[in-house]
Amino acid sequence: MNNKLREAIEGGIIIPEAQAFASAETTDHVFSLEYTRKTEKLIKRQKKKYYPLICTSARRTACVIIAFFVISITTVLSVEALRTPFFDFIMSIFSNHSEVRSLDDGGNYPDKIESYYEITYDLSEYQIIYSDTQNKKTNIYYNNGEKYIYFTQTVVKRYESNFNTEGAELEYIDINGIEAIGYLDNHNCYTLIWNNGEYIIDITSNIGKDALIEIAKSVQKVES
């Protein structure tokens, strides 16, 4: 570093820009739901002590490799589950949860939701209490008293989720010829995630594994 250069940068850029920040107006703009979600997620991640270890794709990939070797000798999770690739995804496994995200150079998938998938199983006893459709993701939350089903359809390249896999054993479930990952978490909720070739479908419910598999099999394209 050169002191003269540094002094010039301070006088010519740093001081004016710090002043620009001080005098900038505080906007009353209402931030979009997508922005808010993205930011909340980032802030939550930043709070994780291990975030610096997983904050880039390369580091996450390294975590997967390390996790593979560690788990292969500690049998925390099923070896079978880890050795079977999760199509176009990186799965990072931690002691109390797993993170799944799409590969940056994954396959040729739609960039936004162009076809809509829904559960076609008879859910007339349920009420849809929340439904949200965005460019990249749709969420539908069905509720019937204590029972709920949470359905999402996400653009493959935007898929990124944390899963509560503490003490869970991952298993592979056939959903109409497609391999889905399934697990029962410690809140007694069963989750199924699969890539249907176009989008990621993710269903979570407390109605039990077998019933949820039946519902998962009914997911079909309903609108283009």
Partner: protein, 183 residues
């Protein structure tokens, strides 16, 4: 119980610094971004991208004084807006390519040459540098960041960081008659 249980997996006990910085600054930074981009969606995208990049090297920037941090955030949001505006700008790529093929690569610069320049003139020239060159120079020469951290923040390669910093210095010297200074 909502199935959002997934998200209840984080440690809540520490490191509120990033969140504090976000809460303190995001509305002002949004205003700055909107003034540049004049589009709410683009301004949100720029802000979102900025904080994602800040999160990648937050440990480092969290050590800055408040004054330096505020200036850093303004510099970085301006650079992010520049990237948004020039995302598909073929003209910019053409200029970058032209400069990359120029003599800059082979130009050796001794930093002591800047000691010979009058301070006010140096300030004036630095503050008129084109966006990416100015940001790379400031992050390197004022904040003393490593090329890795600058690359993450500017969303460019490490090699480009070295290039931009060097090119910025060449531009300064050319603007004020570097050849005379060398004599």
């Amino acid at each position: 119980m909502l199935p959002m249980v997934y998200m209840a997996l984080v440690d809540d006990e520490d490191l509120p610094a990033f969140e504090e910085m976000y809460e303190r600054t995001h509305k002002k930074l949004y205003s700055i971004a909107f003034d540049i981009l004049n589009d709410h969606q683009l301004a949100e995208d720029a802000l979102s991208d900025l904080f994602l990049r800040l999160s990648l090297s937050f440990k480092k920037i969290n050590n800055f004084s408040l004054h330096d941090l505020d200036a850093y955030l303004v510099r970085c949001i301006k650079n992010t807006c520049y990237n948004v505006i020039n995302k598909n700008d073929a003209e910019k790529r053409k200029i970058d390519k032209l400069i990359k093929n120029s003599h800059i690569k082979s130009t050796a610069i001794d930093n002591s040459i800047f000691d010979k320049i009058e301070l006010d003139l140096l300030k004036k020239v630095i503050s008129s540098l084109p966006e990416p060159y100015m940001t790379a120079l400031v992050l390197k020469e004022y904040y003393d960041l490593k090329a890795d951290d600058i690359a993450k923040q500017m969303n460019i390669s490490k090699r480009s960081v070295f290039y931009y910093v060097k090119a910025a210095k060449v531009m300064i010297l050319q603007e004020i008659g570097g050849s005379d200074l060398n004599e």
